[in-house]
């Protein structure tokens, strides 16, 4: 009598068609049956998948796990992501100590207080975009009218780029991020962005001002602490990091609020709830659903499992953020939940550099959107919404009326 071996799940997992905003149900199943499980990847290799909040945090903080995507055997969700991530030569894929040296060149510009100085600019920008939406009349696609332009303009402001160039970025970042792009398309998109940024650096060297790029040139490039290659790729990371993530949160967050009209009303009537609501949206949506991949450089013992040097590890923030031990009834969206301990921005040395900027943009946009359009409603049925299968989860279009 033969016994079938237990099936090893294949990563990535699919979301439920009728519950597209929450993580794939297989994550919850594994969390209760096998919280550190083996999964099979696109190329037939295996990796460890951790689904409990505390295990995810422990792994992301463990110095024995490397983020260097160029290492042999580094796990990826698909061939395209492997090509895209392999093309990245930024500090995102470096380990300490080299990682820390580069990251610290940017920390002062993304501190809580420094980001707060952008509030007036972001408020004026949102007002302007909402004015344009109101003038255009409904229905409007919130993705093209608000979700994409807002973070794009903010990144252009920080890097002192011409606002007209944001269309170029949107296109290339979109191609870079889409899982459906071929590896070649992802590589080309990345190269286009790098070429553009190299031209910016060349021009800015001749015309130094007081923006972030000028500052990096002055403080680090000219004294030789940074090569031009490293600077271009650092800026590349800021562009990639600041676009899709926030744009997708704005679009998905709007859909999520519209699905919870009672809470949306509470939020509109009590703007004091906005900070907590944004944290809960970050937790619930966990849009960075293909990040937190690592390669073990050393043997690691965790929860009775021994991860060996050379093993791939996947520690999804989406799984951690839906752990019922930490967030009771995790599939319930509750703007009054204290969700601040979520790991939507990751954990460990690579935790999102732009997290305070993301928070500020989201707090401002939702406060103003709800107030400007109290009768906001979806202008498409749930079945007509197409969710983006990309590095960062999102929706193709978000038609709304008011």
């Amino acid at each position: 009598m033969s016994i079938d071996p237990p099936e090893i799940p294949v990563w990535p997992f699919a979301r439920k068609a009728d519950a597209p905003l929450i993580p794939p149900p297989q994550l919850a199943e594994l969390r209760s049956t096998c919280p550190i499980a083996q999964v099979e990847l696109w190329d037939g290799s295996y990796a460890w998948l951790a689904t409990r909040y505390h295990d995810v945090k422990a792994l992301l903080r463990n110095p024995g796990l490397s983020s260097d995507t160029s290492l042999d055997g580094f796990p990826q969700s698909s061939e395209t992501l492997k090509a895209a991530r392999g093309a990245q030569k930024t500090f995102q894929r470096l380990d300490p100590p080299q990682h820390d040296v580069l990251r610290r060149m940017l920390t002062k510009d993304f501190s809580v207080s420094q980001i707060a100085t952008l509030k007036p600019f972001i408020e004026a920008l949102v007002d302007h975009l909402l004015d344009q939406i109101e003038a255009a009349g409904h229905p409007v696609d919130l993705v093209t009218a608000l979700a994409e332009p807002l973070p794009a303009h903010v990144v252009c402001k920080i890097l002192a780029l011409p606002p007209d160039d944001f269309g170029f970025f949107l296109d290339r970042v979109g191609r870079f991020m889409a899982l459906s792009s071929t590896p070649e398309q992802a590589r080309t998109a990345a190269a286009d962005i790098a070429d553009y940024l190299a031209e910016v650096v060349t021009a800015r060297k001749e015309d130094l001002a007081d923006d972030l790029v000028s500052e990096l040139i002055r403080k680090y490039l000219i004294p030789g602490a940074l090569t031009e290659f490293e600077l271009v790729h650092m800026l590349h990371l800021l562009v990639i990091g600041g676009f899709d993530t926030t744009a997708n949160m704005i679009a998905l967050g709007t859909i999520l609020l519209l699905q919870n009209p009672g809470q949306m009303k509470d939020l509109r009537e009590d703007p004091g709830l906005i900070q907590g609501a944004v944290e809960e949206m970050l937790r619930y949506l966990s849009v960075a659903h293909h990040v937190a991949f690592r390669l073990a450089k050393a043997d690691i013992e965790i929860s009775d499992i021994c991860i060996h040097a050379g093993d791939g590890v996947i520690a999804p923030v989406s799984a951690a953020n839906h752990d019922p031990e930490v967030f009771p009834d995790p599939q319930a969206f509750d703007v009054r939940r204290d969700a601040r301990d979520h790991v939507a921005f990751g954990f460990g040395v690579h935790q999102c550099l732009g997290q305070h900027l993301a928070r500020l943009e989201l707090q401002v946009v939702f406060t103003k959107l709800l107030r400007r359009f109290p009768a906001l409603r979806m202008a498409a049925s749930p079945a007509d919404l197409h969710f983006k299968d990309s590095m960062i989860y999102g929706v193709e279009r978000c038609p709304v009326s008011w």
Partner: protein, 69 residues
């Protein structure tokens, strides 16, 4: 309760500043953690413990100093 920070670990995430702004700030020149007061008042211990937990790199080290006899 007494606060110490392992500066070499800090990556300037700033979560500590949001959770316990009475005790933590980010340096103007580098964005890295600075301790504003290293002795924690009793009503603030929960917030400071939360700041230590939320620090992505475990740079905040808390100890309980024994009372002097």
């Amino acid at each position: 309760m007494h606060i110490e920070v392992a500066h070499e670990r800090c990556i300037g995430a700033g979560n500590c500043v949001e959770i316990a702004p009475k005790y933590f700030t980010q340096g103007e020149n580098d964005g890295l953690v600075q301790v504003l007061a290293d002795s924690v008042d009793t009503p603030d211990t929960d917030a400071v413990e939360r700041a230590a937990d939320i620090c992505p790199v475990g740079a905040i080290l808390l100890s309980h100093t024994a009372p002097r006899p």
